[in-house]
Every structure is written in C-alpha cells, then in structure tokens.
Subunit: 134 residues, 4 copies
C-alpha cells in the first residue's frame, strides 16, 4: 500500500477514449498510466524514448488493475504514481482519482523490468535516478 | 489454472498496434482480450452491445495481466478463453499464444460483473448462456 | 484559407501515440482534431456528448488532411481551429503547429453535418452558438 | 476514379473501435486503411516494417476521406485498394464496403511518399513491386 506518491499528473478525458458504453474503455487506463510513468521518469531526467534508442528497453512485466469507478466524457482526473525497486523490477503503484472530488477511479500496480542488449538487467542510470525519490 | 478453454480466436498483429519499441503496446492486449470475450459471448447467443442497450451493462472489475513474450509486426496469434462464475462475477481466463509455435505471450485474468439498472446483479440471460459451457 | 482561428488548444505527444516509426501515427491526428473541436464547442456552451444523447448527432462527412511535418515523442503542439457554416455543413479548418517554433505540422479540413432523429438537419442550437464566433 | 482494385482485405468491427455514438470512430478508418495497404504491400513482397528498419520510410503525405455510411458493432466489411504512381508519390485509392450488401461506407485517397535517408526519393524496390500490378 503506497504511503505517499512521488508524482502526480492531471488529465481530462477525451471523447474518443470513450466506448459505446459512454465510459472510458478499460484499455485506455493503461495508456494513462504509461504516459504518467514516462512523464514521471522525465521529471527525474530519464527519457523512455532515448533510453530505448540507446538499447535500454523498459518493458511491462505485469499489470494489475482494479477498476473502481468509471471515467466519463470530460472528466478531469489525476494519476498519482509511486515507485519501488525490488531486485530487477521497478514496481509502479499508480492510482487514478477523479477530480474535483478525488473519488478513486482505478488502482494499478505496474511491474516493469529493463532489458539491456536483450537481457534482463539493472540499469544504473534508472536506478540512480529513482533512488533520488526513495 | 484453466484446465481447458471454451473459445479460441485468431488474430494477426496490425502495424498501427505497435509502439516506438516495435512491439505491440501493452494496452492493446486488453483490446485483443475484450474482442475475444465479446466474440465468445456472441457464440453463446449473447450480444454485448444489445445487452448494453437493454440496460444490462457488463463491466470489467479487475484485469490482471502477465506479459510473457512480446508480439511484433505481422505476428499471428490466438486468444484462448475460459470462463468461470463466482457469485456476482464472471472470471475470464484468457491466454495469448503466438502462432505457429504456440509460444505463450500473455496470461490474463479478467474479472467482470454485470450492472442492471445501475446495480450489481446477476443476469439470468448471461448465466444461462455461460452454464452451457461449464 | 482561414484568415484567423476561433480556438486554440495545446497538447503534448504521449509515447503510446507513436508507432514503430517513432512518430505519431497518422490516425492519431484525427483524435487530436476531434478533441479540439469538442473543446471548442464546449467553450461555446455546446456539449457533443449531451447533444448526442438528446438525438442531435454531429458526424464527420469528410476529412482532408495534409501532413506537413511529423510529431514525435514529447513534442508540444497546438491545434488551431476555425469554423464556417455552409448550408447544412459546418466546416472546421484545423491546423497543427509544433511548439515552441510554430512549425506547421498538419493542415486539416473537417466537414461535419448534423443528424436530428436520423435526418440531415440544421441544429438551431449549434448554429446560434457558432454564429457568435463568425 | 479507380477502374479496378488491386487488393481486397476483409475485417470485422471490434467493439472497442466504436465510440460513444455506437459507431466506429472516424480515426479508426485510417487504421483500417493502413493495415490494408501494409497487407497489400506484403502480398507484393514488400514489408513496411523491414523497409523502415532499412531506412526506407514510407510516409502519408495526404489523406482524403469521404465518410458515406457508418460502420457499427459486429459489421463485416472489406477494404478494396488500388494504387497509382505519380512521380515521387504512390496514391492509394481505398474504398470500404460493408458486407454482405456491399454498401459503400468510405471512400479514401491516401497519398504516400518515400523518404530514403531522410530525403524524398523513389524506392526502386517499391516501384518494381508495384509495377507488377499496374
């Protein structure tokens, strides 16, 4: 259970993200979480895209999502992110709260790993940057 | 652990589903699983869209995804689905195998529930159709 | 050729919008334009979603897009929108400029029409709101 | 006006492609057209992805789409494609017909160009493959 968050990012639902039920499609939440992770890493000086082109490939190993309250057209919301390192893995606890009432919309745990030259490895660059937050 | 599957659906990766890493983006797997569930339900005579317009709203409560091997441009693959009912919930065990070698690509467990007139409820129509498979 | 714009909306490219070429996929620009139109209409007091549920269905009849300069990971950009009414049609001139240098990225012309109870019709509500800008 | 088509590819609408209006979102048609072009090229021995990694970058310069009849949940349809070469450009005429009645759903003209090492150029490999169809 995350004690506190390391990063927050605000969004607004765009209509094309809603499906025929009139709510944000369940797959889109993974887009929201990915963008929040990348922006968080960027705030630490880590550029997901540049890392990839250098051969440091961050991949998602697990995604565990608990959908609590659906987001709808025009809803504003915030993705709050906390990261922990466990061995080779970086675990991102990412929760979405609808604004302005901070109603919990989604609880997510995204487990990532890093491949360097195709092999599971610890990236010193990522670890050092993340340590500044832990 | 699913003993057997109730449904199989074949796909081919489309290039627009791949992200800048050259692999299928992690969110797209939820699209694949959703479509496989809806086609499975359709094979049982249950139409997700018609149910929705009748006020029977199937929603995803949890998604637990374990990414095993990434899919790439032009990969063919099969989504295999098994369903179980537990109280108010339908639990879909959905695994993706790359073809032609049947290499496991993703293991997913999608927990769904049904809202009727906005309230958590068991849909007799869905339950009866699914029972024919159990 | 639009003389001036009626609305501007800023965005930042999200990595999941980029395809294996490392640039924003050509389809995503239509998402950007749609969201900018809906936000523009909202600023005029017109809610696309509410209109739909009232039976006033705005549809895209044509999209003509000229891709000038690709957007990439992390690019900031602005969608500038101008609207004109021609008979039953609302024509949105929508141009995308990359920031901070205002380099033209895309020129779009989106022709929309309105169906009321399934028939092509002029919505007084939409026309009056848009007239305030013309 | 295309006299005949060089390629046909069948699809079925997936529910996640539909937006809150219950029809396929206007951006998704560009996905359908892209996939049909890539499959067409593949049938000629041209692999879009491999070409990209070799430095031959096919890009969309224009997309002109006329939406005739919306596709809905579960609709089957066919994308029919014809290509012409005009100087540096390959122009794909791509029309979508709903099945089984062959009702015209969309008329598209996608103008593409090829960048080799970042410069507009004619790819002999692409030209020779396409000539076999003209």
């Amino acid at each position: 259970m995350p004690a506190k968050y390391h990063n927050e990012l605000e969004y607004k639902v765009r209509d094309y993200e809603c499906d025929l039920q009139g709510v944000v499609n369940n797959s889109i939440y993974l887009n929201y979480l990915e963008h929040a992770r990348h922006e968080f890493l960027l705030s630490l000086g880590l550029d997901f895209t540049e890392l990839f082109y250098k051969g440091v490939v961050a991949v998602v190993a697990r995604a565990d999502l608990s959908y609590k309250h659906p987001l709808k057209s025009k809803d504003r919301f915030v993705v709050k992110t906390r990261v922990e390192q466990k061995g080779f893995k970086y675990i991102f606890y990412q929760d979405i709260y609808k604004l302005p009432d901070n109603k919990l919309s989604l609880k997510g745990v995204i487990t990532t790993a890093t491949l360097i030259n195709g092999k599971l490895a610890i990236s010193d660059e990522i670890t050092e940057a993340i340590q500044t937050k832990l």
